[in-house]
């Protein structure tokens, strides 16, 4: 005969287990929306990643990672503020180190070690004026490797802090720099310079020719500016270069293919999604746009050095951090036209939405090649360009 006390004790133990168990069960059923991003080095990449040639360099949470042969390697410590990478000769990198009040451009070796600091944008320790510091962003080496272009907040005017495009000599400093763009008042300014043999492409923010809405355009200029200045709403006709894209397209993040014949860009068409567009480039003008990826949050298109495809960043699940994706060349190379194709009408720009892809009549149903997701559960910095070295 089991005593009453023993039964009571057993029931008490059961009650404790059931109440604690219920509590823990409910806790385990929380969604993963707030789960922190994994470290790139802790994830298992897709097997397709092994097919990517060369080495990619990316940033997450202020740290730089290299990615080759399907493996990530952490090059710098977490939370240091490294972002916005660009290639530099000798397998090295240009990178921005961002702090709370300013940012500077550095040269790093391929292992993430600082080779040289190129800018000194802080102010004296006892100077508490926030505007005494400067930002440098989006560094890029010039096509002839003699100067470094960057976006730099000079001149600035009190509350108005527009970025302008500057170049400084390799081995020099920013005080020897030359101003290449006149930014528009109260827009954020000019960013993402891309130096080419024929001139400079960059992203300009303006309020458009009718001064209505703030958005971006790819802009082209072939000579530095002669004097400081700032403009209201939009550059006057014929001054300070010319636009390569229309105001309604909202294009930014230009990336030129290794053969120099195609420009990749991100366009938003005044929406909260982005499109990956390609356009032919003849050194002076862009051809008709082809939308390769639509209605996503695609960012930072980066060409493979051997031209076999484009890497980019985009979330796999909305709001869950940006992942690395790979788009093989076959996905965006037009199929071989039939003997009597209907010639697509060239369209210099697209308004108000993205243009459909040119549609030469295929001889057989096209094979749809989908983008390949390389990483999962990471939180890659979508505002930081990817570097892809051979």
């Amino acid at each position: 005969m089991i005593s009453r006390a023993l039964v009571a004790a057993g029931v008490a133990v059961l009650m404790v287990f059931s109440s604690v168990g219920t509590y823990m069960y409910l806790g385990s059923r929380q969604s993963k929306v707030a789960a922190p991003a994994q470290l790139p080095t802790s994830g298992t990449p897709s097997p397709s990643a092994l097919n990517l040639p060369g080495t990619l360099f990316l940033t997450q949470a202020g740290a730089i990672y290299s990615y080759s042969a399907g493996r990530f390697h952490q090059l710098t410590a977490l939370g240091v503020g490294w972002t916005q990478l660009a290639p530099y000769p000798g397998g090295r990198l240009l990178a921005v180190k961002r702090t709370l009040l300013y940012s500077d451009v550095y040269i790093l070796d391929r292992f993430g070690k600082v080779v040289r600091q190129l800018t000194h944008n802080t102010a004296a320790a006892r100077n508490y004026d926030p505007s005494a510091r400067h930002w440098s962003f989006y560094p890029r080496l010039s096509y002839n490797q003699k100067s470094i272009f960057m976006s730099y907040d000079k001149p600035k005017f009190g509350f108005d802090v527009p970025m302008s495009i500057w170049s400084m000599p390799v081995g020099g400093n920013i005080s020897q720099g030359r101003l290449w763009s006149i930014s528009i008042d109260y827009t954020g300014g000019d960013i993402q310079p891309l130096s080419l043999r024929t001139g400079l492409i960059y992203t300009k923010y303006s309020y458009g020719p009718d001064c209505s809405g703030l958005e971006s355009q790819l802009w082209f200029t072939s000579a530095p500016e002669q004097a400081y200045g700032v403009r209201v709403c939009y550059p006057p006709p014929g001054a300070h270069g010319r636009p390569l894209t229309k105001a309604g397209e909202g294009c930014a993040q230009p990336a030129l293919s290794p053969d120099g014949g195609t420009m990749a860009m991100i366009c938003t068409y005044r929406t909260q999604v982005s499109y990956l567009n390609l356009a032919s480039w003849n050194g002076k003008t862009l051809g008709a746009r082809r939308t390769i990826l639509r209605s996503q949050l695609v960012a930072q298109p980066t060409w493979a050095p051997d031209g076999t495809g484009i890497a980019y960043l985009a979330p796999a699940v909305q709001g869950a951090g940006f992942q690395l994706w790979w788009l093989p060349k076959a996905a965006y190379t037009p199929p071989t036209p039939s003997p009597s194709p209907v010639a697509p009408t060239p369209t210099p720009g697209v308004t108000p939405g993205p243009s459909p892809s040119p549609s030469p009549t295929p001889s057989s149903p096209p094979v749809v090649i989908k983008p390949v997701q390389i990483t999962s559960n990471l939180g890659l910095d979508a505002t930081s360009p990817i570097v892809w070295l051979p």
Binding site: T22, Y186, G189, S216, T268, Q272, Q318, G319, A382
Partner: protein
């Protein structure tokens, strides 16, 4: 008997799990609001003359108030953000109208001033009455959120994805959340393009207004973008996340809606297609600057009221 005891203890475990959320829900919801009668001042000659509209059947209108509630504002707090949101469950459409914080209007508490002072002078009731009197829109409920509340909520859901239409650089961003002198400034740099924002950077994006030609109007548009991103992310949360969210919101969110009303509205908010969300910002010609040192914004009621009647019938 043992089975009943175990069932009861399981229920107790569930109750303990949701207890903080229940407590916070009772603290934050069903706030008592006294909406004062329209000001009797005969000098008011704006929207107050417009009769308040009636809703389409089932429609529900919320006034969303976002406040500076940092250490600089130990007394009444101003509303940096005022957004009227109309849900129409029949058509599954949502309309969002941002009211400029500097809009010069007759306040329900008396006198004429910037509309952001209504909440400071008379709380949510005064803010609701001021909006109703001037815009002729019947407000069914309000939701108030403080600065830290927005940061905490966005962090609690793991951040949001947005497309920032332009970079935001601000050398004089108020550095007033957290300990220390609340009158300090911070340099803010939010990059442009598609990106993931945590709570702090999302707040910087929606709060900065110094480096925007459209000033508060540009900021209003950014606030709507972040609201839509929040809505998209909130669709992924589960009931079991509620205690975590409640902890994040602690004392930073207030509403006069009942829990049952919120339970009715949440699935509706999640079911609405983003294409059916209309965003309205009162840019010129609906408003114009005063050209004066105090920098208030003058409403053009002849243009605003037809717009309001069109989108808030």
């Amino acid at each position: 008997m043992a089975v009943i005891a175990v069932a009861l203890s399981s229920a107790a475990g569930g109750f303990a799990y949701f207890m903080p959320a229940i407590q916070e829900a009772f603290d934050a919801t069903s706030q008592v609001v006294v909406v004062p009668s329209p000001s009797p001042s005969p000098s008011i000659s704006t929207g107050t003359t417009t009769p308040t509209t009636t809703h389409p059947p089932g429609a529900f209108t919320v006034l969303l108030l976002g406040s500076d509630n940092d250490a600089k504002f130990l007394g009444g707090v101003l509303t940096q953000s005022m957004i009227i949101i109309r849900f129409n469950p029949t058509t599954k459409k949502v309309t969002m109208l941002s009211i400029p914080r500097d809009l010069w209007v007759p306040l329900s508490t008396g006198g004429t001033n910037k509309i952001d002072g209504a909440y400071a002078l008379g709380g949510a009731g005064a803010a609701i009455a001021t909006v109703e009197n001037n815009f002729g829109i019947k407000i069914d409920a309000y939701i108030w959120i403080g600065l830290a509340g927005l940061v905490n909520v966005i962090n609690a859901i793991g951040g949001i994805d947005v497309v920032t239409q332009a970079p935001v650089f601000d050398d004089f961003y108020p550095y007033d959340i957290g300990p220390g002198n609340p009158y300090r400034y911070l340099r803010v740099a939010v990059m442009a393009g598609p990106q993931h924002l945590d709570g702090t950077h999302a707040l910087e994006y929606v709060r900065s207004r110094h480096n925007d030609l459209q000033s508060d109007f540009g900021r209003s548009a950014r606030q709507q973008v972040v609201l839509l991103a929040l809505r998209a992310k909130a669709a992924q949360i589960s009931a079991e996340d509620v205690p975590l969210l409640a902890a994040a919101m602690k004392g930073q969110i207030k509403t006069d809606m009942s829990l049952s009303r919120i339970a009715t509205l949440l699935p509706l908010a999640g079911s609405i297609d983003i294409k059916n969300i209309l965003q309205v910002v009162l840019l010129p010609p609906y408003t114009h600057g005063c050209g004066c040192p105090s920098g208030y914004v003058v409403p053009v009621w002849g243009a605003i009221l037809p717009l309001v009647h069109q989108y808030f019938p």
